[in-house]
Amino acid sequence: MTSSPAPMPGLTARDYKSEVKPVWCPGCGDYSVLLAITKALAELKLPPEKVSVISGIGCSSRMPAYMNSYGFHGVHGRAVALATGLKLSRPDLTVLVTGGDGDGFSIGGNHFLHACRRNVDLTYIVMDNRVYGMTKGQPSPTTEPDWDSALSPGGTGLRPFNPLVIALASGANFIARGFSGDSNGTARLIVEAIKTPGFSFVEILSPCITFRQDQRGWKKIVRPAPVDPTEDIGRAARRLMTDDGFNLGILYVGGREPYRLQLEGGEREPAELESQFVV
């Protein structure tokens, strides 16, 4: 973390949770992600008022209200842009972005590309359940091509989007994958994502038990990635291109300098700009 506020002693995960009861279905993977985020913040002992959680629209985008931190629940697909404006103008804050696969990769796809490329010091947590849950079960960019639904009978026939590969190709500085069923492991990934300067992308496989009951089987498929994190972008590319989507862990950590604004040193007053206009 580039500008860490002084840690606060004695904070626990509970201190980062609000009193609001989530709208999520019982058994939704997102409960565990909420737990993982609060555990990570407690581990880092960040004062709640120095943390902002920004989101767009969707089940997982409801996250900010469930946290005891500052938050912004904005419009669909634009969370990363809103967070970029906040972090660039307030580098002292820890800014997390939370959302789902539809919000981040479909309507927000362009912002995802440019956030990776811009490499602002943000942590972007995508709870990927390969479905639009809030609108009751439509295919998202990460949905399998043959997944049947009312909106795309027989499946979309489209090749799923590979967010990790795209993040790497676009310049993200930290890429990891977690599983909601392992909240401690996910919390460790989030801790590292926050600590690593620049744009950190964490995909969390978070099953939708209502529209994707088949995802209940994920807990049997996921496994820790068999290799350590790499700093080698070529190796990371090969790994991510060939991975089946169920390897968990930190998969790439780069060394790019984050994008910051030069906000110091400009000490002049507006009246001092006027001389450029005087005849």
Partner: protein
């Protein structure tokens, strides 16, 4: 109404040529030299959509009084070439008293110009330029204009030296020689224009365009963060901000699109930094959804829309006042917000500064409707007054009491906004309808009370006399907004000098509509005429529908890209006043 330039005491000069011929450089130098010599003036440029090699015209109007609109006809048109003249001849009105100076090497004067009956003089610009090492026709042309209008030689020389400093001594010497040849050639031509040089202005004057003026107003108002996507004709506002924000400890971010820019400024403002973006019609359309977010989440932001011809891509390089409807009504749901329009180039400072102040105070998005004509016309103006607006955002500092309600139904509808970092004030800003604490709520009671709150804070605010410029006391009123105000002002001044009294009402605050103020402004008025530059009479319909004017209202309107001219309006207003 103060003295204004009119057709007899001003000089309008056009320099035309293909892109790269240097007419814009020459036009800028003419304006700057005239300013040094004590004039007021305007310098508008016309260019096609091409990046290079298109047609260009530098259109300068000079006078001893403030110049608020383009002249009716050009006194002098000097053409370096006639490239693509068919495309923009209509932008260069001429009459039988105009002098057209043409280079015979560029062929006969095109019929579209010759047909206007102007006097034509030949000046071999290219051949003369060849007699000077590195001489350029545009400097010969500038010299000829200077000679014809009697521009004092020392100020022209001074401006030439300053403009060409970076190009080295050789370039400067070539320009001086070429300029002198032009002055000499002008001696052989007859031209009868007003003397602009013996009554030189002594007050402090600025040269500024509306885009720079809006930028200056924004930073005076406290804006320190800008996120934006390039778009004509707003880009030069952004470029001005990029450089000047650095000097103030602020910064500009180039966003990936307008959806990002509006959300970035919402994020920055949420974090406590007054923030702005500038765009044109297509960008404003893209921002509409998120402007609604700023309404619902009560985040102050300012969007300057430098309007151009629409719809769709329209005419990017030319002016129109046709984004009023989208600015007023483009947001879904019941989404009250601020819409303002500057009344002149120098008023872009005031109105933008005021917009920032209102947005911050009222925790609301504000849209400022400038346009290409205001934004890209350079003007010599009196130094705009300093205005000290109290633009304090009501913030909630560190918690002293337990029960912080971000969207509490406080008197007047303005509730304290906690800034991230303030301990104990954590809340979630939300585009979902919410209760007083900010928690999502679809309860009927919360919806009604939050809608009432957001409307009340705008409707109940005292905007004071800034809401409009009201001049004159006639029983007939002309209502103009934005860039149309200038041509109307000049038209009414001309009519006034003939003994016809009119009242001018030019509202700065377009939304929320203040019907009580409109009633005051039009008190005792028998009839009012709205003048605006769009095809569908947008302001006229808005005034009749939302502002409850106390008298019958008529309208004179037409679309761009041709600017309204005072002579045209004198004729229209006379016709209307007799009807």
């Amino acid at each position: 109404m103060g003295a204004k330039a009119d057709q007899t005491n001003s000089l309008s000069i056009a320099l035309t040529g293909s892109g790269g011929a240097g007419v814009i450089t020459a036009g800028n130098m003419l304006l700057e030299a005239a300013a040094k010599a004590g004039c007021y003036g305007l310098f508008a440029r016309s260019s096609g959509p091409q990046i290079r090699g298109g047609e260009a015209a530098a259109m300068v109007r000079l006078a001893n009084e403030p110049v608020v609109a383009p002249g009716d006809v050009f006194d002098i048109l000097i053409a370096i070439d006639w490239h693509n003249i068919d495309r923009f001849a209509v932008e260069l009105p001429l009459s039988t008293v105009s002098l057209v100076i043409a280079d015979p090497s560029q062929g006969a004067v095109p019929e579209v110009i010759a047909a206007r009956g102007a006097r034509i003089a030949e000046l071999p610009l290219r051949d003369l330029a060849k007699t000077v090492a590195k001489g350029r026709p545009n400097m010969i042309a500038l010299g000829a204009v200077a000679g014809l209008i009697g521009l004092p030689g020392e100020v022209a020389d001074d401006v030439m030296a300053r403009t060409l400093k970076k190009r080295g001594d050789e370039a400067l010497a070539a320009s001086r020689d070429a300029f002198a040849l032009g002055v000499e050639a002008a001696g052989a031509m007859s031209f009868d224009g007003p003397d602009l040089w013996t009554r030189a202005a002594t007050r402090e004057r600025w040269i500024i365009n509306g885009n720079e003026a809006a930028g200056l107003g924004a930073v005076r108002g406290g804006v320190r963060f800008v996120a934006a996507y390039p778009i004509t004709p707003a880009t030069d506002l952004l470029e001005w901000m990029a450089l000047n924000l650095q000097r103030l400890g602020g910064a500009l971010v180039q966003a990936e699109d307008e959806l990002a820019s509006i959300n970035m400024i919402i994020g920055a403002s949420y974090g406590g930094t007054p923030a702005l973006t500038a765009t044109s019609g297509p960008g404003l359309a893209l921002m509409s959804e998120s402007l609604g977010l700023a309404v619902a989440a009560e985040v102050p932001v300012v969007v300057v829309d430098v309007m151009r011809g629409g719809p769709s891509t329209g005419i990017p390089t030319k002016s129109e006042q046709s984004d009023l409807n989208i600015a007023l009504f483009g947001l879904h749901g019941d989404a009250p917000h601020l819409v303002l329009a500057p009344t002149s180039i120098s008023d872009c400072v005031f109105t933008t500064q005021w917009a920032v102040s209102l947005a911050e105070t009222l925790q609301s998005p504000a849209i400022v409707l400038s346009d290409q004509l205001l934004g890209q016309t350079r003007a010599i103006v009196d130094r705009p007054a300093d205005i000290a607006f109290v633009s304090q955002r009501v913030t909630a500092e560190a918690a002293t009491v337990e029960d912080f309600r971000r969207y509490g139904l406080a008197a007047g509808g303005i509730s304290a906004m906690a800034i991230p970092g303030s301990p104990g004030r954590q809340y979630t800003a939300d585009g979902l309808e919410h209760d007083e604490s900010g928690l999502p709520s679809s309860r009927a009671g919360d919806h009604v009370s939050q809608l009432d709150k957001r409307a009340a804070k705008l409707d109940g605010f005292d905007y004071g006399n800034h809401w409009a410029e009201i001049e004159g006391d006639g029983r007939l009123a002309v209502v103009a907004w934005g860039s149309s105000t200038g041509a109307v002002r000049e038209a009414l001044a001309r009519l006034g000098s003939r003994g016809h009294e009119f009242r001018l009402v030019s509202p700065r605050l377009l939304s929320p509509p203040p019907p009580a103020r409109w009633a005051e402004a039009l008190e005792g008025v028998e009839r009012a005429l709205v003048v605006e530059l769009n095809h569908s009479a947008q302001f006229y319909r808005y005034l009749k529908g939302y502002c409850d004017p106390p008298c019958p209202v008529d309208v004179y309107h037409r679309p761009g890209p041709l600017p309204l001219r005072a002579g045209e309006l004198v004729a229209e207003i006379e016709k209307w006043s007799r009807s």
